[in-house]
Symmetry: C3
C-alpha cells in the first residue's frame, strides 16, 4: 500500500473507474517522462454529470458547486493517471493543471473555484502536487459540464 493510496483512503476518496476512450483519442498519453491527460469533466463516481455540476458558473451553478466540480475533475485526473501508470507512486510531480470554467457573462471570480482542483491534488500528492496552472472562463465545455480540467505530470519512465 503506497503513501498516496493511504492518503486517498484517509480522504475518503475512491478513484472511479476511469472513463473509457469514446473516440479516436485516449484519456492519457505517457511520452518519455511526461504524462499528459485529456481534459476531464466533472463526472461523479457513477460516471454521470450531476445537475448541480452542469451549466454556467455564476448562473445556475453556485460557486460552492463549481468548486466541488473542479475537485471531481481532479479526482478523475488521478483516476486516469492511475490507469495510465499502474500506480500513482510513479508520479514525480504535477507540472500543470489547466482549468476551463463554463462561465456566465461577467463572472470573473474563477481562481478561487479552481482551488477545488488544486487543493485536491496537493492533499493527495503532497509537495509533488504543487503545480503551475492556468484558469480561464470559457463559452462552452463538452456536455455542459461546469468545468473541465486537464493535467500534465512528470513521471518515472
Amino acid at each position: 500500500m503506497s503513501d498516496i493510496e493511504d492518503r486517498l483512503r484517509s480522504l475518503g476518496i475512491t478513484l472511479p473507474q476511469p472513463s473509457a476512450p469514446v473516440a479516436n483519442y485516449v484519456p492519457a498519453v505517457v511520452a518519455g517522462n511526461l504524462l499528459v491527460i485529456s481534459g476531464q469533466l466533472a463526472l461523479g463516481a457513477d460516471g454521470k454529470l450531476a445537475p448541480e455540476h452542469t451549466g454556467k458558473v455564476g448562473g445556475t451553478v453556485s460557486e460552492a458547486d463549481a468548486k466541488a466540480a473542479a475537485r471531481l475533475c481532479a479526482i478523475n485526473l488521478l483516476a486516469q493517471a492511475k490507469a495510465a501508470l499502474g500506480s500513482l507512486d510513479r508520479i514525480e510531480r504535477c507540472i500543470r493543471l489547466g482549468g476551463f470554467f463554463n462561465t456566465a457573462p461577467d463572472f470573473a471570480a474563477i481562481a478561487p473555484l479552481m482551488n477545488g482542483a488544486s487543493d485536491l491534488i496537493v492533499e493527495v500528492l503532497g509537495d509533488k502536487g504543487r503545480h503551475a496552472r492556468s484558469t480561464i472562463g470559457v463559452a462552452e465545455v463538452p456536455l455542459g459540464s461546469a468545468v473541465e480540467v486537464e493535467g500534465m505530470f512528470l513521471v518515472k519512465a
Copy 2:
C-alpha cells in the same frame, strides 16, 4: 516513400504549403524530443478561410462544416510538422491536441466535432496518432475561424 506519406496519398490528402510566420512567433518549435505546434486555423489548401468555416459553431456554421474545419486544422498541423521535422516519419506519437471551437451561446456538443481533427490524425499516423485532448468552446478565434487546433508531438530527436 514512407508509410505515412503513403497513407496521406491514399486518403487523397495533399499537405498544403504551411503558412509562413507572420509575427514574432513561429509555427512550430522542436525542443528536445517535443514538437509544439502553434494553434492552426481552418485554412484550406489555398491558404484561405472558407466562408463555411468562418463564424460561430451552432450559429452560422453547421456541425458538419465545423467537423470539416477541425479536420482542416489537423491537416495544417501535419503540414507544419512536416516543415519542422523534414519528414513525418520522425513523429513517434501525437501527445495532445487542444481544440478551441468558436461557439454560439449554449452550443455544447463540441466533442463530436473535435473528432474531425482526432480522426484525421489517427487515419494518417495510425496508433502513433492516438492522443490526449482537451476541447472547449471559446468566445473568439483569430480571423473568426470556426475552430483552432494546437498540437504537441513526441519526435525522434
Copy 3:
C-alpha cells in the same frame, strides 16, 4: 551581467517582484528541462491591475491597451522565470505562449494584440524567444484582466 539582463536594461524594463503563490499552486514548475509557468495576468510593476487593462477587449479596453496588457503578461512571465531559474541565462528556448484574451462579443482581431507578448519575449531573448503560440478569446479571465498569458520554456537542467 548577462546579455539578457543587458537587453532588459536597454529596453528600460525592470522585472517586477514576481507575485507570490496565493493558493495550492505555484507560479512555475521546473520539470527536467521544461519550465512551465502559470498563466500571468496583466499586473503592473506595482502588482496591481490597472483600470485600462481590466475588462473586455473590443469593449471598454482599447486594442492599444490590450496589446500593452499582453506585454505586461510577458514581463511577468520573465519575472517568474527568473525567480524559478535564478538566472534568465538558463533559458534555452521559449517553446510556447498561450494567450487568453477577455473579449467582447464578435471581437476576433486578437492575433495582433498577442504580438504585444510575442514581441517582448523576442526583444529580450532574441532567437531563443521565437515560440509557438495559441491565441484565443475567452469568456472570462481571473480578476477581469484583459488578457492572461502562460508559457513553456526549454531550460538548462
